[in-house]
Amino acid sequence: MKPHEPHAGTAQRLERPVDVFRIVIFLGLSIAFAGCDREGSRDELTISDVEVVDPYNLPDSTLGEMLRAHFDSAVAVGKNAESEYQASLARLRGQRDEAALLVVGALERAPTEAYFERALMAETLRELASPNTLDRIYRIALEPRREAKSIGDDHHFFPGVEESQIRAITVRAIAEIAKVDPTAEELLLKLAQDDDISVAREAIQGFLGLGDADNRRKMLGTVLDSERIREIGITTTDPKSVPYPDELLNDIPLPAARPKDSPEVSDDDE
């Protein structure tokens, strides 16, 4: 009997069941594990009961409408985006104090998880720089930092870091107010001692940016040692000076034709 004749092979396999099972086990496990990190059914997102909510919760007044339009303009896109944003700011500055009071109130009321909107409101307070809101902005800048730990394996969201960014922007607002209201200087010196490095840096930069740098550096030295200032870092870096990754270029051409399964934009949409 020739060893490679079909019947011979079959007979041989039947006589050696262990090999058969080894093959079956190997193939089975390969197939199973090949998909062990793949996902089965897709997630489903329900939006039928969603109510579109104004995250800024502003009053239905003329100024409230102006602020809503301003926040929209802040995230605009296109060649006129910046000029329209600046025009909106100029309109708001015509009612600087009233507008700033509305914004600081909205910021105080905003839900915690509205990180982006809160940051944008803080940025607007910086642009408005109204001394009338100084005390309330300072209280926001002092908000205790939340626990900044990664949550689960799906990382990259750190509530404490989001809070830190909002606080840093409010410190920048205080620095702007300090240009016209000397009482804000003292608050900057206090915030310069904050444990949060991002908050402390904004306070130090804002304080030193008020002029008479030599004298202010001495004042700063009475509350912070030079090692802490060095650790914080206060000198702006040119991004062209930082080390840059040097990756090989890949040649991946643009697709020649429309993908078969991309979603359709209807005439009504465009």
């Binding site: 086990i25 998880e113 730990k149 702006t236 890949n250 643009l254």
Partner: protein, 251 residues
Amino acid sequence: MMTNKHPSIVFVTPLLATILLVQVAHGATCTIPSSRVSTNESLYTSRTCNQAFIDMVWAHFDFDKGDWDQGFGFHDPCNSIRPLSRTFNALWLLAYSAEDYATSTSDWSGNALRWGYPYSASKIDELNGRCGDGTAIARTWWGGWIFVDDRTNLYLSFFYNWSISARAGTIVHEARHAAGKGHNGGDDCPRGGSCDEKWTTYGANTYQVLYLWWYYVDGTRTTTALRNLAATRAQSIIDNGFVEKPPYVIN
């Protein structure tokens, strides 16, 4: 009768069945948090609601209908309440914020603002919309042969907690993971997770900072507000995302 079966099958069959059952587990169901839905992005959607643009990103990032239907926006790609539209908005910002934006995914020249899109398009294997646990932003699997399906999942917090520029920076971050670079700093940085050892390991945090930094410095077709917020985020990553804090100050 058991006596007619090879002993291995007694153990292997339940094992295989278990593994296969785990694979076909049902997907999650989630609801968009209503307080997180704003109408702000309608201005971006006016740009991304364009068949040619959608077709381009659909191909570059290997989107699949099955990963973006069931509420995620496949059937309503111009609705900025839906995750798909909000992802398109971030990709638009990623693609076109440089004055001389790249017109080919093979063009990685210039600064990070310019190569952010082509780099991400080249590295990300597929981009999926998912629910997540309510706090997750994104996760990338990479390096798979037959054991791992290379992919990047985007979760609810990506769509609804972050600005468009922050989302664009996250895509660059995830693209670096997709290129095979994981975080190597454990939890030893100030934020306690997703830490890179240092700037010059050129991990995902370095890439994300570079993109946001250059968006702040050179970003066009956008506003000072978004650029300032990008700078704040980039500085925050510098301050909190590295074991050995880079000595850089953005502004």
